[in-house]
Amino acid sequence: MSEALVAAEAAGAGVEPVPGASGARQFWRRLRTQRAALVAAAVVALLVLVALAAPLLTALEGQDPTTYHPSLVDSARGGVPIGSFGGISGDHWLGVEPQTGRDLFARLAYGARVSLAVALAATTVQVLLGVVVGVAAALGNRWVDQLLSRAADIIVAMPLMIMALALLAIVPSSFPRPVLVALIIGFVAWGTIAKIVRAQTLTLKELDYVAAARLSGWSTWRIARRELLPGLAAPVITYAALMVPANIAIEAALSFLGVGVKPPTPSWGQMLTSANVWYQAAPQYLLLPAGALFVTVLALTVLGDGVRTALDPRAASRLRVGTGSKREAKAAAEKDVQSDVQSKVVQSKVVPSKVVQSKEVQSKEVQS
């Protein structure tokens, strides 16, 4: 999956402190102005709700995700569900699974639990590892930086799927599988976020308010916690929001390779994998998980864009899905009015205090 690309998008977020980028209130206020993001948030909330309430909902339906119903499938025809639309009925709201006759609604709802939980947990692991390594590399001395950056390089250069295959085989099967899948996705894909965090920390570290905190006499740890981490929130949250759907897709891919979450625990990836071949004989079997995945990833991506926009208003005009000329006008107005102020800030930036990393554009201020 395009981890690097997701990262690249995230990297642009909030490199500098934005005037007025403070507080959760601001964030919510800005998020609220985005209709697409709000719809997406509602969809995500609904999905989470469905996942959480899966036992309740299926109880309502009177089904569970594991019970076989051999009588509902046509054994002579490969186990295709009997009845129209994959056996949809009052008992089985979305029909049943071919071959087993398990209730699809129940599997979809329970699958949401697994897929979302795995993706969220994996993202958490990635973010934690990435932030710790990235911050440590940025704040540590040259050797620590070298070591950790190299480690991140190695992680990035390792083929994710292969490592996942190998690691999944090593860990004893008694280890809960969804947790394992989450951990492994998390552990093999933190390199990029570590790089982002490192770059961002290096930028933040040079900001005056961090210097001021140092002058206050705070320890490095305290500065990292109080001054740097909040500043990392924007790119990290943005990255995370975009990484969740990517992780769902990775889980699906692992299932496709046969090493994902194990049956009978349903996951969308696993359902997709087994439903794949049923596209002609029982289309709804494929369309349901595919649709669920599509909606989820779509909603999370749109929400991710929204979060990013809310955290970094300058990006407002860039990644937004829906657009409105009104908002653009406002942004333009702010920019115009600020331009006078900024005009002065431009002046007298002296020697870049840290010599440029590759890819960071250096404007040569030193004139001859």
Binding site: E16, P17, V18, P19, G20, A21, S22, G23, L207, D208, Y209, A211, A212, A213, R214, L215, S216, G217, W218, R222, R226, E227, P230, G231, S325, K326, E328, A329, K330, A332, A333, E334, D336, V337, S339, D340, V341, S343, K344, V345, V346, Q347, S348, K349, V350, V351, P352, S353, K354, V355, S363, K364, E365, V366, Q367, S368
Partner: protein, 678 residues
């Protein structure tokens, strides 16, 4: 027909009316400056002239006619034909205003071809031609360079070349020199002047800097809050402003040729309050908070105190007897050649020197002479006839002696050295790319004095400042605080930063930021911390209730006050101010400078004042060091350095400062031209 005719222009961004009922006209070949502070709407006007607000969602009303085109009614195509061909615009930041990816010649050629049906080759030739005209040496070759390969001044010349390409009737220059160093600024203004003489095009100059306007135009239109405050020929505006705001604005402009006003005078004048000058108490910004109640502290915006600092042609003696200095200010004091204008009759200076303060606080000021030692090019040393300046050790004897002498007058018991740097060198990068931002700099700072460090961009002044506070470690050399060599930061040495935006954590309340030094040193009593922070906030002219507000709720000047309060919270002996006012409007600048002076006097602080602005440095410093390319080229008491500069670079710098008198400006320009020709 006028070149530009604007009638009842208004521009609205959403709820914000940026320009409100503006009318003016500009004749062929004439030059008009739009002058105003941040948010005055002057840039918005400039954009409106070219119809650049179209399609952005801004509402534009009134009528605009430029070079025969009705901008409001024109079709998109007509507008495009106006832009660049009849009216060309030069922008503020020359680096970002050029496409970084294409060669400069190509960019000019592209613009030329938009308006002229010529071959690529011809367009390219035209580009070289105009580049040559604006003084780009070796234009054919340099036209193939990309913007980042040019220096700031060259880029601005290139932009001007682009503007010239189609021989427009009107040149709109939006803060064309704001991002440039003062010496480069002078060159660009000279260039504009020369081009105007040559081509007869009209000039609309947008600037916040009255000095720049004085140098360049015939008429000035002062704007405020989107409205015209005053519109008159430049000499009239400068010499006899009719509007209070104009006077305030002028008064606030620091003058490089006026000696320093002693701190006593500074603070008292503030209290003296020339508030009447400012009809609107919230001069500084739209969001300014209501003024504080502290008696000794000037409410933000309600003071014209800045004017005081530069008001008089002070007798030399004033330096030694500071307390009464500020009082003797002649209202319209114009000092001969300097062309210094004293803005208001209202400037009273010190009314009452608080008892006991005058003598206690004054010593630092007099300590200047020779205290600064620059081994590399110690002008002071040279003056003292010690041979072989560069070969000298960092602690040259003779200047030191001189310093002792000078200090003896008033320094007294408090004249001891608090901060001392010797042989500081700082390199960046490694291997081939390594360069020394600061090279072999030594200096001393005594209790209660102010040392100004002035230099253009790239001179290493900020790096030096950061080494002094311990944020950067010198590659070689050392910094001693009260005689002890020191590594890393020290709460007793604090810093006030340049950028009011980035110097406060946007995610923490200002109170929390100010409380940092208190907590860091182990203070745990929350009530005590809050009390102390409230005290500090009030001391710097804010309200205690601001504790829980966030930086974005404050204006630039207020944020800078918060930064000062944070520095004070550590009970420092030394504060290094790194361009503390360069991002502020002039009126605000003056207030912040005044505050610093006042605090220095009250607390016996030693200040290091790092700035690019020669005038501001002179205004606050006892001693001044001029930096260039990492070295100190000249140093000494402020008056000596400014009055009788020895180093050619210092002279050049001083000569480049815009004068506030058009005649003086013209004389200087001629002088510069001769200098360049020679």
């Amino acid at each position: 027909m006028s070149l530009v005719q604007v009638t009842d222009l208004f521009v609205e961004f959403g709820d914000l009316r940026a320009v409100d009922g503006l009318s003016f006209r500009l004749e062929q070949g004439a030059a008009l400056a739009l002058v105003g502070e941040s948010g005055s709407g002057k840039s918005t006007v400039a954009s409106a002239l070219l119809g650049l607000h179209r399609g952005t969602g801004a509402r534009v009303g009134g009528s605009i006619e430029v070079a025969g085109t009705d901008v409001q009614q024109a079709s998109d195509d007509e507008l495009r034909r106006l832009r660049g061909a009849k009216a060309a615009m030069v922008f503020q930041d020359p680096l970002s205003s050029l496409d970084p990816y294409y060669a400069i010649g190509d960019q000019i050629a592209e613009v030329y071809r938009v308006h002229t049906r010529v071959s690529r080759r011809a367009a390219r030739a035209r580009a070289v031609e105009v580049l040559d005209r604006v003084g780009i040496p070796d234009a054919p070759r340099r036209s193939r360079s990309r913007p980042h390969e040019f220096s700031g001044g060259m880029r601005q010349r290139a932009l001007i070349a682009m503007a010239l390409a189609c021989e427009p009737a009107l040149l709109i220059a939006d803060e064309p020199t704001t991002a440039l160093d003062v010496t480069v600024q002078a060159q660009i203004l000279d260039l504009l002047h020369a081009l105007r003489e040559e081509t007869g095009m009209g000039l609309l100059l947008v600037t916040h800097d009255v000095g720049v306007a004085a140098e360049s135009v015939d008429e000035v239109l002062v704007m405020r809050h989107g409205r015209v405050v005053e519109h008159a020929p430049v000499a009239d505006v400068l010499e006899a402003p009719t509007e209070a705001y104009t006077r305030t604005l002028l008064a606030a402009v620091p003058r490089v040729d006026v000696r320093r006003t002693p701190p006593g005078a500074l603070s008292e004048s503030v209290t003296g309050g020339s508030g009447s000058l400012l009809p609107d108490a919230s001069a500084e910004g739209r969001k300014a908070l209501s003024p504080g109640a502290g008696a000794a502290v000037p409410p933000e915006g309600a003071s014209g105190h800045g004017g005081v600092a530069f008001s008089g042609d002070l007798a030399p003696g004033a330096r030694a007897v500071p307390a009464g200095a500020g009082a003797a200010v002649s209202p319209e004091g114009v000092s001969g050649d300097g062309g210094v204008l004293s803005s208001g009759s209202s400037v009273q200076g010190a009314r009452d020197v608080p008892s006991g303060e005058g003598s206690a606080v004054s010593p630092g000021r007099a300590s200047g002479d020779g205290g600064v030692v620059s081994s590399g090019a110690s002008a002071r040393a040279a003056r003292a006839d010690v041979p072989g300046g560069p070969a000298e050790g960092p602690e040259a004897d003779s200047p030191a002696t001189g310093a002792e002498n000078a200090r003896g007058v008033s320094a007294g018991a408090s004249g001891d050295v608090v901060l001392e740097a010797s042989g500081l060198r700082r390199e960046f990068g490694r291997g081939k790319r390594a360069f020394a931002a600061v090279d072999d700099v030594s200096l001393t700072l005594r209790r209660g004095e102010t040392l100004g460090i002035v230099g253009e961009s790239g001179s290493g002044k900020t790096t030096l400042g950061r080494m002094l506070v311990g944020l950067l470690q010198p590659t070689t050399g050392e910094v001693r605080y009260e005689g002890h060599a020191r590594v890393g930061v020290n709460p007793a040495v604090q810093m006030v930063f340049q950028d009011p935006v980035s110097s406060l954590n946007p995610r923490r309340s200002v109170g929390e930021s100010i409380a940092d030094p208190l907590r860091a040193r182990g203070e745990r009593d929350e009530r005590g911390i809050r009390r102390r922070v409230t005290e500090l906030l009030e001391r710097v002219g804010l309200e205690g209730a601001h504790y829980d507000r966030y930086p974005h709720e404050f204006s630039g000047g207020q944020r800078q006050r918060v930064g000062i309060a944070r520095a004070l919270a550590a009970d420092p002996r030394v504060i290094v101010c790194d361009e503390p006012v360069s991002a502020l409007d002039v009126t605000t600048q003056a207030q912040v400078v005044a505050l610093l002076g006042e605090l220095q006097r009250e607390l016996g602080l030693a200040l290091v004042f790092v700035a690019h602005d020669l005038a501001v440095v002179r205004q606050v410093s006892d001693r001044v060091a001029v930096m260039r390319r990492g070295r100190i080229v000249e140093s000494g008491p402020a008056d000596e350095v400014y009055g009788t500069p020895q180093d050619p670079y210092t002279k050049q710098l001083l000569a480049a400062v815009p004068a506030l008198d058009p005649q003086v400006a013209a004389r200087r320009r001629a002088a510069r031209r001769e200098l360049a020709a020679a």
